[in-house]
Symmetry: C2
Subunit: 211 residues, 2 copies
Protein backbone atom coordinates (compact mmCIF):
# COMPACT_ATOMS: atom_id res chain seq x y z
CA UNK A 1 0.00 0.00 0.00
CA UNK A 2 1.30 3.48 -0.87
CA UNK A 3 -0.11 6.73 0.48
CA UNK A 4 2.01 8.97 -1.71
CA UNK A 5 -0.66 11.64 -2.12
CA UNK A 6 -1.13 12.29 1.60
CA UNK A 7 -0.16 15.90 2.46
CA UNK A 8 2.62 16.32 5.02
CA UNK A 9 0.28 18.59 7.01
CA UNK A 10 -2.16 15.66 7.38
CA UNK A 11 0.62 13.50 8.84
CA UNK A 12 1.56 16.23 11.31
CA UNK A 13 -2.09 16.63 12.32
CA UNK A 14 -2.43 12.85 12.81
CA UNK A 15 0.44 13.11 15.34
CA UNK A 16 -1.44 15.88 17.08
CA UNK A 17 -4.68 13.84 17.12
CA UNK A 18 -2.83 10.85 18.59
CA UNK A 19 -1.30 13.01 21.38
CA UNK A 20 -4.76 14.32 22.27
CA UNK A 21 -6.36 10.86 22.11
CA UNK A 22 -3.70 9.58 24.50
CA UNK A 23 -4.53 12.39 26.91
CA UNK A 24 -8.25 11.54 26.63
CA UNK A 25 -7.52 7.90 27.42
CA UNK A 26 -5.50 8.92 30.47
CA UNK A 27 -8.53 10.98 31.55
CA UNK A 28 -10.71 7.85 31.14
CA UNK A 29 -12.72 9.40 28.31
CA UNK A 30 -13.68 6.57 25.97
CA UNK A 31 -15.98 8.27 23.46
CA UNK A 32 -15.76 11.80 22.09
CA UNK A 33 -17.82 13.80 19.58
CA UNK A 34 -15.96 14.96 16.49
CA UNK A 35 -16.61 18.58 17.51
CA UNK A 36 -15.08 18.13 20.97
CA UNK A 37 -12.09 16.27 19.59
CA UNK A 38 -11.62 19.02 17.00
CA UNK A 39 -11.74 21.81 19.59
CA UNK A 40 -9.23 19.98 21.73
CA UNK A 41 -6.88 19.52 18.76
CA UNK A 42 -7.24 23.14 17.63
CA UNK A 43 -8.79 22.32 14.23
CA UNK A 44 -12.36 22.08 12.92
CA UNK A 45 -14.22 18.78 12.74
CA UNK A 46 -14.30 18.84 8.92
CA UNK A 47 -10.49 18.88 8.97
CA UNK A 48 -10.34 15.74 11.14
CA UNK A 49 -12.83 13.96 8.88
CA UNK A 50 -10.88 14.99 5.78
CA UNK A 51 -7.54 13.86 7.25
CA UNK A 52 -8.94 10.50 8.34
CA UNK A 53 -10.81 9.97 5.05
CA UNK A 54 -7.47 9.34 3.31
CA UNK A 55 -7.24 6.13 5.30
CA UNK A 56 -10.81 4.94 5.85
CA UNK A 57 -13.98 5.60 7.83
CA UNK A 58 -13.39 5.86 11.58
CA UNK A 59 -16.25 7.92 13.01
CA UNK A 60 -19.58 6.50 14.14
CA UNK A 61 -22.66 8.53 13.16
CA UNK A 62 -24.40 10.04 16.16
CA UNK A 63 -21.56 8.96 18.47
CA UNK A 64 -18.30 10.47 17.27
CA UNK A 65 -15.11 8.51 17.83
CA UNK A 66 -14.20 5.64 20.10
CA UNK A 67 -10.98 6.99 21.62
CA UNK A 68 -9.04 3.74 21.94
CA UNK A 69 -10.04 2.52 18.45
CA UNK A 70 -9.15 5.78 16.76
CA UNK A 71 -5.82 5.99 18.63
CA UNK A 72 -5.01 2.42 17.57
CA UNK A 73 -5.84 3.18 13.93
CA UNK A 74 -3.85 6.43 13.83
CA UNK A 75 -0.84 4.71 15.41
CA UNK A 76 -1.10 1.97 12.81
CA UNK A 77 -1.29 4.55 10.02
CA UNK A 78 1.74 6.44 11.34
CA UNK A 79 3.71 3.23 11.85
CA UNK A 80 3.69 3.63 15.63
CA UNK A 81 2.34 0.14 16.30
CA UNK A 82 6.02 -0.79 16.59
CA UNK A 83 8.95 0.76 18.44
CA UNK A 84 11.61 2.63 16.49
CA UNK A 85 15.35 2.49 17.11
CA UNK A 86 17.20 5.80 17.18
CA UNK A 87 20.93 6.42 16.86
CA UNK A 88 22.13 9.75 18.24
CA UNK A 89 25.21 11.52 16.86
CA UNK A 90 26.75 14.31 18.95
CA UNK A 91 26.75 13.97 22.73
CA UNK A 92 26.92 17.64 23.71
CA UNK A 93 24.35 19.46 25.85
CA UNK A 94 21.58 19.05 23.30
CA UNK A 95 22.32 15.38 22.62
CA UNK A 96 22.41 14.64 26.35
CA UNK A 97 19.11 16.47 26.80
CA UNK A 98 17.47 14.59 23.93
CA UNK A 99 18.53 11.18 25.21
CA UNK A 100 17.10 12.05 28.65
CA UNK A 101 13.86 13.58 27.31
CA UNK A 102 10.93 11.43 28.45
CA UNK A 103 8.79 12.06 25.38
CA UNK A 104 10.82 9.87 23.04
CA UNK A 105 10.35 6.72 25.05
CA UNK A 106 6.72 7.54 25.77
CA UNK A 107 6.03 7.79 22.04
CA UNK A 108 7.86 4.56 21.21
CA UNK A 109 11.25 5.96 20.17
CA UNK A 110 14.26 4.20 21.73
CA UNK A 111 17.78 5.57 21.69
CA UNK A 112 19.69 2.33 21.09
CA UNK A 113 23.05 3.88 20.19
CA UNK A 114 25.01 7.10 20.65
CA UNK A 115 28.07 8.36 18.78
CA UNK A 116 30.71 11.04 19.17
CA UNK A 117 34.24 11.65 17.93
CA UNK A 118 35.55 13.01 21.26
CA UNK A 119 37.88 10.45 22.92
CA UNK A 120 36.81 11.81 26.33
CA UNK A 121 33.18 10.85 25.60
CA UNK A 122 33.70 7.57 23.71
CA UNK A 123 33.18 4.57 26.00
CA UNK A 124 31.18 6.49 28.61
CA UNK A 125 27.83 5.11 29.66
CA UNK A 126 24.85 7.46 29.32
CA UNK A 127 22.01 7.59 31.91
CA UNK A 128 19.84 5.37 29.65
CA UNK A 129 22.51 2.64 29.73
CA UNK A 130 23.78 3.23 26.19
CA UNK A 131 27.56 3.43 25.72
CA UNK A 132 28.95 6.25 23.56
CA UNK A 133 30.54 4.71 20.46
CA UNK A 134 33.20 6.07 18.16
CA UNK A 135 31.46 7.54 15.10
CA UNK A 136 33.95 5.52 13.00
CA UNK A 137 32.07 2.38 14.11
CA UNK A 138 28.77 3.71 12.72
CA UNK A 139 28.17 1.02 10.09
CA UNK A 140 28.96 -1.86 12.45
CA UNK A 141 26.82 -0.48 15.31
CA UNK A 142 24.00 0.37 12.89
CA UNK A 143 23.74 -3.29 11.91
CA UNK A 144 24.17 -4.63 15.44
CA UNK A 145 21.55 -2.34 17.02
CA UNK A 146 19.29 -2.06 13.95
CA UNK A 147 19.31 1.76 13.95
CA UNK A 148 16.34 2.94 11.89
CA UNK A 149 16.39 6.70 12.43
CA UNK A 150 19.45 8.94 12.87
CA UNK A 151 19.28 11.89 15.26
CA UNK A 152 21.86 14.62 14.57
CA UNK A 153 22.78 16.99 17.42
CA UNK A 154 26.21 18.12 16.30
CA UNK A 155 27.28 21.70 15.53
CA UNK A 156 26.03 23.32 12.32
CA UNK A 157 29.43 22.99 10.67
CA UNK A 158 29.60 19.20 11.17
CA UNK A 159 25.98 18.22 10.54
CA UNK A 160 25.97 17.69 6.75
CA UNK A 161 29.15 15.57 6.89
CA UNK A 162 27.58 13.43 9.63
CA UNK A 163 24.38 13.07 7.63
CA UNK A 164 26.44 11.92 4.64
CA UNK A 165 27.93 9.19 6.84
CA UNK A 166 24.46 8.18 8.08
CA UNK A 167 23.34 7.91 4.46
CA UNK A 168 26.39 5.82 3.57
CA UNK A 169 25.39 3.49 6.45
CA UNK A 170 21.92 3.29 4.82
CA UNK A 171 20.04 5.00 7.64
CA UNK A 172 17.10 6.21 5.59
CA UNK A 173 15.44 8.68 7.96
CA UNK A 174 17.19 11.46 9.83
CA UNK A 175 16.07 14.18 12.22
CA UNK A 176 18.47 17.12 12.37
CA UNK A 177 18.70 19.46 15.37
CA UNK A 178 21.77 21.38 14.13
CA UNK A 179 20.94 24.93 13.04
CA UNK A 180 21.51 24.28 9.33
CA UNK A 181 19.28 23.02 6.50
CA UNK A 182 20.45 19.49 5.65
CA UNK A 183 19.94 17.96 2.19
CA UNK A 184 19.60 14.23 1.47
CA UNK A 185 19.43 12.32 -1.83
CA UNK A 186 16.18 10.73 -3.14
CA UNK A 187 15.12 7.68 -1.13
CA UNK A 188 16.24 9.28 2.14
CA UNK A 189 14.28 11.68 4.34
CA UNK A 190 15.41 14.41 6.68
CA UNK A 191 13.36 16.53 9.06
CA UNK A 192 15.14 19.71 10.11
CA UNK A 193 14.03 20.91 13.55
CA UNK A 194 13.99 24.68 13.93
CA UNK A 195 13.05 25.73 17.46
CA UNK A 196 12.49 29.33 16.37
CA UNK A 197 9.44 28.65 14.18
CA UNK A 198 7.25 28.41 17.29
CA UNK A 199 8.80 31.64 18.57
CA UNK A 200 7.72 33.37 15.35
CA UNK A 201 4.14 32.41 16.13
CA UNK A 202 4.45 33.93 19.62
CA UNK A 203 6.09 37.07 18.18
CA UNK A 204 3.24 37.40 15.68
CA UNK A 205 0.58 37.18 18.38
CA UNK A 206 2.42 39.55 20.72
CA UNK A 207 2.68 42.05 17.86
CA UNK A 208 -0.83 41.80 16.47
CA UNK A 209 -2.42 42.00 19.92
CA UNK A 210 -0.44 45.13 20.79
CA UNK A 211 -1.59 47.02 17.69
Amino acid sequence: MKFSKIPEATITRLSNYSRNLEELLSENINVISSEKLATRCGVNSAQIRKDLAYFGEFGVRGVGYYVQNLLFEIKRILGLNKEWNLGLVGIGNLGSALIAHENFLRQGYHFVAAFDNDPVKIGKKLPNGVKVENIDNLEEVKKRENIEIGVVSTSAGTAQAIVNRLIKADIRAIINFAPVQIKVPPGFRVENVDFTVKLDSLAYHLTSEED
Copy 2:
Protein backbone atom coordinates in the same frame (compact mmCIF):
# COMPACT_ATOMS: atom_id res chain seq x y z
CA MET B 1 -4.90 46.32 13.57
CA LYS B 2 -6.11 42.81 14.47
CA PHE B 3 -5.60 39.69 12.37
CA SER B 4 -7.68 37.43 14.57
CA LYS B 5 -8.97 35.30 11.69
CA ILE B 6 -5.54 34.25 10.40
CA PRO B 7 -5.10 30.45 10.71
CA GLU B 8 -2.19 29.29 12.86
CA ALA B 9 -1.01 27.16 9.90
CA THR B 10 -0.63 30.35 7.84
CA ILE B 11 1.60 31.87 10.53
CA THR B 12 3.76 28.72 10.61
CA ARG B 13 4.02 28.77 6.81
CA LEU B 14 5.02 32.46 6.86
CA SER B 15 7.95 31.43 9.13
CA ASN B 16 8.89 28.79 6.60
CA TYR B 17 8.66 31.28 3.70
CA SER B 18 10.89 33.74 5.58
CA ARG B 19 13.54 31.03 6.25
CA ASN B 20 13.59 30.15 2.54
CA LEU B 21 13.68 33.81 1.45
CA GLU B 22 16.69 34.36 3.75
CA GLU B 23 18.44 31.42 2.11
CA LEU B 24 17.64 32.86 -1.35
CA LEU B 25 19.11 36.21 -0.33
CA SER B 26 22.27 34.51 0.92
CA GLU B 27 22.48 32.81 -2.50
CA ASN B 28 22.18 36.27 -4.14
CA ILE B 29 18.83 35.40 -5.75
CA ASN B 30 16.83 38.64 -5.88
CA VAL B 31 13.71 37.64 -7.83
CA ILE B 32 11.88 34.31 -7.79
CA SER B 33 8.77 33.00 -9.55
CA SER B 34 5.91 32.00 -7.30
CA GLU B 35 6.23 28.40 -8.59
CA LYS B 36 9.93 28.16 -7.71
CA LEU B 37 9.40 29.71 -4.30
CA ALA B 38 6.52 27.28 -3.69
CA THR B 39 8.59 24.23 -4.65
CA ARG B 40 11.40 25.38 -2.39
CA CYS B 41 8.99 25.85 0.53
CA GLY B 42 7.27 22.49 -0.05
CA VAL B 43 3.83 23.96 -0.81
CA ASN B 44 1.97 24.92 -3.99
CA SER B 45 1.97 28.47 -5.34
CA ALA B 46 -1.77 28.92 -4.69
CA GLN B 47 -1.06 28.29 -1.00
CA ILE B 48 1.57 31.06 -0.87
CA ARG B 49 -0.79 33.49 -2.63
CA LYS B 50 -3.62 32.57 -0.25
CA ASP B 51 -1.43 32.97 2.84
CA LEU B 52 -0.09 36.34 1.71
CA ALA B 53 -3.54 37.57 0.59
CA TYR B 54 -4.56 37.90 4.26
CA PHE B 55 -2.06 40.74 4.52
CA GLY B 56 -1.96 42.39 1.07
CA GLU B 57 -0.72 41.96 -2.49
CA PHE B 58 2.99 41.13 -2.67
CA GLY B 59 3.58 39.36 -6.00
CA VAL B 60 4.32 41.13 -9.28
CA ARG B 61 2.52 39.74 -12.35
CA GLY B 62 4.91 38.11 -14.80
CA VAL B 63 7.79 38.46 -12.35
CA GLY B 64 6.96 36.63 -9.15
CA TYR B 65 8.37 37.98 -5.91
CA TYR B 66 11.19 40.38 -5.11
CA VAL B 67 13.01 38.37 -2.45
CA GLN B 68 14.17 41.22 -0.22
CA ASN B 69 10.80 43.03 -0.34
CA LEU B 70 8.80 39.91 0.44
CA LEU B 71 11.16 38.95 3.28
CA PHE B 72 10.84 42.46 4.72
CA GLU B 73 7.03 42.32 4.54
CA ILE B 74 6.77 38.85 6.08
CA LYS B 75 9.10 39.85 8.91
CA ARG B 76 6.97 42.93 9.51
CA ILE B 77 3.80 40.78 9.55
CA LEU B 78 5.33 38.30 12.00
CA GLY B 79 6.67 41.08 14.22
CA LEU B 80 10.28 40.21 13.41
CA ASN B 81 11.24 43.74 12.42
CA LYS B 82 12.32 44.07 16.05
CA GLU B 83 14.38 41.85 18.34
CA TRP B 84 12.66 39.87 21.07
CA ASN B 85 13.95 39.35 24.59
CA LEU B 86 13.85 35.81 25.97
CA GLY B 87 14.11 34.68 29.58
CA LEU B 88 15.14 31.04 30.04
CA VAL B 89 14.07 29.01 33.09
CA GLY B 90 15.95 25.77 33.81
CA ILE B 91 19.68 25.64 33.12
CA GLY B 92 20.10 21.89 32.62
CA ASN B 93 21.46 20.23 29.49
CA LEU B 94 18.55 21.38 27.34
CA GLY B 95 18.57 24.95 28.65
CA SER B 96 22.34 25.19 28.10
CA ALA B 97 21.92 23.84 24.58
CA LEU B 98 19.11 26.29 23.79
CA ILE B 99 21.07 29.31 24.99
CA ALA B 100 24.04 28.26 22.83
CA HIS B 101 21.92 27.41 19.74
CA GLU B 102 22.83 29.85 16.94
CA ASN B 103 19.37 29.94 15.38
CA PHE B 104 17.79 32.06 18.10
CA LEU B 105 20.14 34.98 17.64
CA ARG B 106 20.07 34.63 13.87
CA GLN B 107 16.27 34.95 13.93
CA GLY B 108 16.31 37.94 16.26
CA TYR B 109 15.68 36.19 19.57
CA HIS B 110 18.00 37.25 22.42
CA PHE B 111 18.37 35.38 25.67
CA VAL B 112 18.62 38.33 28.05
CA ALA B 113 18.09 36.41 31.30
CA ALA B 114 18.39 32.89 32.72
CA PHE B 115 16.93 31.44 35.89
CA ASP B 116 17.37 28.36 38.03
CA ASN B 117 16.70 27.37 41.63
CA ASP B 118 19.95 25.43 42.09
CA PRO B 119 22.38 27.37 44.34
CA VAL B 120 25.30 25.78 42.46
CA LYS B 121 24.10 27.36 39.21
CA ILE B 122 22.84 30.73 40.48
CA GLY B 123 25.44 33.47 39.90
CA LYS B 124 27.33 31.55 37.21
CA LYS B 125 27.97 33.29 33.91
CA LEU B 126 26.74 31.47 30.79
CA PRO B 127 28.74 31.47 27.51
CA ASN B 128 26.49 34.24 26.12
CA GLY B 129 27.48 36.50 29.05
CA VAL B 130 24.16 36.18 30.90
CA LYS B 131 24.35 35.46 34.65
CA VAL B 132 22.06 32.77 36.07
CA GLU B 133 19.56 34.42 38.40
CA ASN B 134 17.59 32.98 41.29
CA ILE B 135 14.08 32.20 40.02
CA ASP B 136 12.80 34.05 43.09
CA ASN B 137 14.03 37.28 41.43
CA LEU B 138 11.88 36.67 38.34
CA GLU B 139 9.63 39.73 38.62
CA GLU B 140 12.50 42.13 39.29
CA VAL B 141 14.70 40.74 36.46
CA LYS B 142 11.71 40.64 34.10
CA LYS B 143 11.26 44.40 34.49
CA ARG B 144 14.99 45.20 34.38
CA GLU B 145 15.71 43.14 31.24
CA ASN B 146 12.28 43.61 29.62
CA ILE B 147 11.70 39.86 29.15
CA GLU B 148 8.97 39.42 26.54
CA ILE B 149 8.94 35.65 26.01
CA GLY B 150 9.58 32.94 28.60
CA VAL B 151 11.42 29.76 27.61
CA VAL B 152 10.79 26.78 29.90
CA SER B 153 13.35 23.96 29.92
CA THR B 154 12.68 22.46 33.34
CA SER B 155 11.57 18.91 34.07
CA ALA B 156 7.99 17.90 33.29
CA GLY B 157 7.04 17.93 36.96
CA THR B 158 8.14 21.54 37.50
CA ALA B 159 7.03 23.14 34.24
CA GLN B 160 3.43 24.14 35.06
CA ALA B 161 4.46 25.72 38.39
CA ILE B 162 7.17 27.71 36.58
CA VAL B 163 4.71 28.80 33.91
CA ASN B 164 2.34 29.99 36.65
CA ARG B 165 5.16 32.17 38.00
CA LEU B 166 5.92 33.54 34.53
CA ILE B 167 2.23 34.43 34.19
CA LYS B 168 2.25 36.13 37.58
CA ALA B 169 5.21 38.19 36.35
CA ASP B 170 3.04 39.13 33.31
CA ILE B 171 5.19 37.37 30.71
CA ARG B 172 2.48 36.91 28.09
CA ALA B 173 4.14 34.43 25.71
CA ILE B 174 5.82 31.18 26.68
CA ILE B 175 7.53 28.40 24.80
CA ASN B 176 7.65 25.13 26.71
CA PHE B 177 10.25 22.43 26.05
CA ALA B 178 9.30 20.23 29.03
CA PRO B 179 7.53 17.01 27.99
CA VAL B 180 4.14 18.03 29.36
CA GLN B 181 1.18 19.97 27.91
CA ILE B 182 1.10 23.36 29.65
CA LYS B 183 -2.10 25.38 30.02
CA VAL B 184 -2.30 29.16 30.32
CA PRO B 185 -5.25 31.49 31.04
CA PRO B 186 -6.85 33.73 28.36
CA GLY B 187 -4.62 36.60 27.30
CA PHE B 188 -1.48 34.44 27.56
CA ARG B 189 -0.06 32.13 24.92
CA VAL B 190 1.99 28.98 25.22
CA GLU B 191 3.62 26.91 22.48
CA ASN B 192 4.47 23.39 23.60
CA VAL B 193 7.44 21.95 21.70
CA ASP B 194 7.23 18.21 21.10
CA PHE B 195 10.32 16.88 19.34
CA THR B 196 8.62 13.58 18.59
CA VAL B 197 6.05 14.98 16.13
CA LYS B 198 8.74 15.17 13.43
CA LEU B 199 9.75 11.60 14.26
CA ASP B 200 6.16 10.48 13.64
CA SER B 201 6.43 11.86 10.12
CA LEU B 202 9.66 9.89 9.55
CA ALA B 203 8.07 6.74 11.01
CA TYR B 204 5.08 7.17 8.70
CA HIS B 205 7.26 7.46 5.61
CA LEU B 206 9.51 4.55 6.64
CA THR B 207 6.38 2.43 7.14
CA SER B 208 4.42 3.39 4.03
CA GLU B 209 7.48 3.00 1.77
CA GLU B 210 8.12 -0.47 3.12
CA ASP B 211 4.61 -1.72 2.38
